[in-house]
């Protein structure tokens, strides 16, 4: 890899915590947020004018919208003290070997090469704000599948991009989608043509690695009629001393008879604010599945949603949250039934420990005329000690006829009987508790590919031992 010319580098970063890798930035926008920064980002990326205009318009919207007053306390975020764009190297690497060594070192810790070896799939790993490593399996190309980073997609597939970008989540949807649209960078772009079934999950790793670095990736997935894709997003981040903001936008279009599954394992370090808008549009007889695991971050506010646009559409959210000390996971799901004869389920499992707080927040909306819909929500919460907290806030609005709606929730602790049973068989208490917790989230883990399930079980184990903060 050739030496990268430095345009501007943050100079005062020291190795502080975690597996920090010295930064080497091609370009780093100044802290703060104003039209000049946005223009600079767009110029650096050599974007078409419509995108620049959309960014500037979104910035205006972001400024006008008030901060949400519900959910977690977001008043501590200082938008002026965040870097809105970094670019780690000036060109895309085509293979693993070409990656800069320090970036490779970080990914080694995350196990990206293993994942690649195991899946032999396209890996699109995001380091800082832009995708630097990208490999696309030949078979996918042959099938006509586009799997690229979002910046390249804007350049290489402008028509497809312009047709769908911002249509599922318009900039004005909420304050953070406006922010993302103004300063977005990186993320994945997937297009699956008609009738194509992508057999192996497509994966991308996202990382935040600069102090005060906001990460605003933008993902757009289009599943054409009768297609199938499973996309996996996993996140980790080393620990820094000041708060970081992660505010992604994920838009998915699932056309007639298509199926899309989007799996997330979010494990940001516990000083990250994770404020993400994820939404899918499901058309006739299409299926959208969100599998959403939230383990890290200081505050997460994330409610993957499905708009059921045409009859026969089906939406599914399976959500797991783990909140340890100082964490608040405000997660859930939204199902918006626009068309009749649509169905949805939300299953939420949450675990609170060491003073952590998990909140399920959900919304089922059934519009007038969307008759004969069925929706079911189930929330289970496990409280591991008496300092922790769990909340359930389900909102249901039904304006249609002949709708069946169900909601169930339970909150409990690890049952003494289960513990007694395991301990009477010689299993130490801590291990028994871990087993019970792993059993509790099993409906979630069994939906994950094997290595993710293993990783998740290991993470739970670490959390249970208190070795991860």
């Amino acid at each position: 890899m050739a030496t990268v010319p430095k345009v501007e580098v943050g100079t005062d970063y020291k190795e502080k915590y975690g597996f920090f890798v010295p930064e080497e930035y091609v370009f780093k926008a100044k802290r703060g947020l104003n039209p000049e920064i946005v223009k600079e980002i767009s110029w650096m990326k050599q974007e078409p004018e419509w995108m620049l205009n959309m960014r500037l318009r979104s910035l205006e919207i972001f400024r006008k919208k008030p901060m949400p007053t519900w959910g977690a306390d977001l008043s501590v975020i200082d938008f002026e003290n965040i870097f809105y764009y970094l670019k780690a190297s000036d060109k895309q690497s085509k293979s693993w070997e070409e990656l800069p060594p320090d970036i490779k070192a970080t990914y080694d810790r995350l196990g990206v090469p293993e994942a690649e070896r195991k899946f032999l799939a396209g890996v699109s790993a995001q380091y800082e704000s832009e995708v630097v490593y990208h490999s696309l399996q030949e078979k996918l190309t042959q099938q006509g599948v586009i799997f690229t980073d979002t910046d390249s997609a804007l350049r290489d597939h402008p028509e497809l991009f312009k047709q769908y970008f911002g249509t599922v989540i318009p900039p004005a949807d909420n304050k953070f989608s406006a922010l993302n649209t103004a300063v977005w960078s990186g993320g994945s772009f997937i297009y699956v043509p008609k009738g194509v079934k992508v057999e192996i999950p497509l994966q991308a790793y996202f990382r935040i690695n600069a102090e005060n670095m906001g990460q605003f990736e933008r993902t757009l997935i289009i599943c054409d009629e009768g297609s199938f894709v499973h996309y996996i997003e996993g996140c980790t981040a080393p620990i820094y001393t000041t708060d970081s903001l992660h505010s992604a936008v994920v838009e998915i279009i699932v056309k007639k008879n298509a199926r899309c599954r989007y799996t997330t394992i979010q494990n940001w370090s516990t000083n990250v604010f994770n404020l993400v808008t994820k939404r899918a549009m499901a058309y006739a007889d299409a299926t959208m599945e969100w599998v959403d695991g939230n383990l890290g971050s200081q505050i997460t506010m994330k409610y993957p949603s499905v708009y059921l646009m045409e009859p026969g559409a089906k939406g599914d959210v399976l959500s797991v949250a783990f909140a340890g000390k100082g964490q608040h996971q405000d997660a859930g799901g939204k199902m918006i039934h626009v068309a009749p004869n649509t169905t949805s389920t939300i299953t939420s499992k949450s675990i609170s420990k060491g003073g952590g707080r998990t909140s399920y927040r959900g919304h089922i909306k059934i519009y007038p005329g969307a008759n004969n819909c069925k929706s079911f929500v189930k929330c289970d919460a496990l409280l591991l000690d008496d300092e922790s907290r769990s909340d359930t806030y389900p909102y249901n609005d039904v304006d249609a006829e002949n709708v069946t709606l169900g909601h169930e929730a339970t909150v409990s602790k690890v049952s003494d009987e289960q513990l007694f049973y395991l301990m009477s068989r010689g299993i130490p208490r801590a291990e028994a508790e871990t087993m019970i917790v792993n059993g509790f989230i099993e409906p979630f883990t069994k939906e994950l590919p094997l290595e993710y399930a293993v990783e998740l079980n290991r993470l739970i184990q670490l959390e249970m031992e208190g070795s991860v903060g």
Binding site: V398, V403, V411
Partner: protein, 397 residues
């Protein structure tokens, strides 16, 4: 004309402390804005078309019919609330509006400023009686306000039942109605309380019920909501003593263009407490209902059990039920479950009955009766159970 200091003059002959309290509540009413759609509690509950001043004529004093159980034990005080405020200030003053706060919102303030009729029941320590106390609140004419308030104090180990019935003489009358209740349960007391709301179908009704449960006390509270074009009821139990047990049940049957709103709170303030809530409703025609319930388990309230369920049977395509069951759990050593369902009559159940030759209408009626059956069994005393069964029967038809 409106609700103002002048109209307070109508309520003469009360002790100074009550007068001051009414004035302060009136000031609160004048200060507070009408709830807006941005308040979570009022998002689905539209009061923009309700102007209390339209009904500022007070119907009072004769609006209450109290039936004293025969052979009421000595020491029991049962009298109209305003009378009790004069005769027993030491019992009434510290408690009146200490659970149902006047400054909670505009309507609570208005009720506190102008409450007219209502009952005071005081049952001393260790006193038990079987025959229920029956309080009937009647409205004789429309276009006015009927604002009764019930205050119940149960001494240690007291045991009794009480029924509040809100009755309209004319089903088509308009007006402003309330029916709020405060219940204090002393240690080990057992109180059964039933409120049957059958005001006219065009009135606006607001009710705040709140009970405070002492150690080892048991409350069985049952609501029946049938009347009003708009009916908003808050049911709140504050479990303040270990071993307290609150059973909060309700049935509602909405038809025509009725709108019912229920907000409930099970507040577990200490450990070893239990609450069990079940609200069941059926909706016909273009009626709408909103249920929002909260279970709150506070930090040190370990070993608490809380249950909350709301079931809605939607009998018409145009009726709409909204159900929002919420939990806030701050302690892990608890058992909490909640559930909510909204749906039509199960077509399989209907098919089963029809396949046995039962006509559609009869089968539907049987299913509705069955739907309410399990909760009717929980009505705490016979008199109220019979009353409710008869009311329900006439509505299911």
């Amino acid at each position: 004309m409106g609700f103002n200091a002048e109209s307070l003059e109508e309520l003469r002959g009360e002790p100074d402390w009550l007068r001051d309290r009414r004035q302060s509540a009136l000031a609160t009413y004048e200060r507070l804005p009408s709830p807006s759609k941005t308040d979570e509690e009022w998002r689905r509950t539209d009061v923009s078309r309700f102007n209390p001043s339209d009904f500022s004529k007070l119907e009072h004093l004769d609006g209450l019919k109290l039936e004293r159980p025969s052979g009421l034990p000595a020491g029991v005080i049962l009298k109209p609330l305003r009378q009790a405020a004069m005769d027993h200030p030491e019992l009434v003053e510290p408690r009146l509006f200490s659970l149902v706060h006047a400054d909670r919102d505009r309507f609570a303030a208005l009720h506190a400023a102008f409450f007219t009729g209502g009952t005071f029941l005081y049952v001393p320590d260790g006193v038990e009686f079987d025959q229920p106390v029956l309080g009937q609140h009647l409205s004789h004419e429309g276009g006015n306000s009927v604002l009764p308030h019930t205050l119940i104090v149960a001494g240690r180990g007291a045991r009794f039942n009480y029924l509040d019935e809100y009755i309209a003489e004319d089903d088509a009358e308009t007006g402003y109605r309330t029916g709020s209740t405060e219940i204090f349960l002393g240690e080990g007391s057992q109180v059964g309380y039933v409120a049957v709301q059958k005001w006219g179908r065009k009135v606006w009704h607001f009710a705040d019920q709140r009970a405070e449960l002492g150690k080892d006390s048991t409350l069985r509270l049952f609501n029946v909501t049938l009347g009003g074009k708009f009916s908003k009821t808050r049911v709140e139990a504050s479990l303040a003593g270990e071993g307290a047990n609150a059973e909060l049940k309700a049935i509602y049957f909405a038809s025509g263009d009725q709108f019912f709103d229920f907000h409930t709170l099970q507040d577990h303030r200490v450990g070893n407490t239990r609450s069990d809530l079940l609200f069941k409703g059926a909706l016909q025609d273009v009626s709408r209902t909103v249920y929002a319930g909260m279970i709150r388990i506070e930090k040190h309230a370990a070993r608490s059990d809380a249950y909350q369920a709301n079931r809605n049977l939607v009998l018409s395509d145009k009726a709409k039920a909204t159900s929002i069951p919420m939990l806030e759990i701050d302690n892990n050593d608890v058992r909490c479950t909640h559930g909510a369902t909204v749906g039509p009559v199960d077509p399989e159940h209907l098919f089963y009955l029809r396949s046995r030759g039962i006509p559609l209408q009869t089968a539907k009626r049987m299913l509705i009766q069955g739907f309410f059956g399990d909760v009717l069994d929980r009505i705490p005393f016979e008199h109220a159970r019979k009353l409710v069964e008869a009311e329900l029967e006439s509505r299911i038809g």
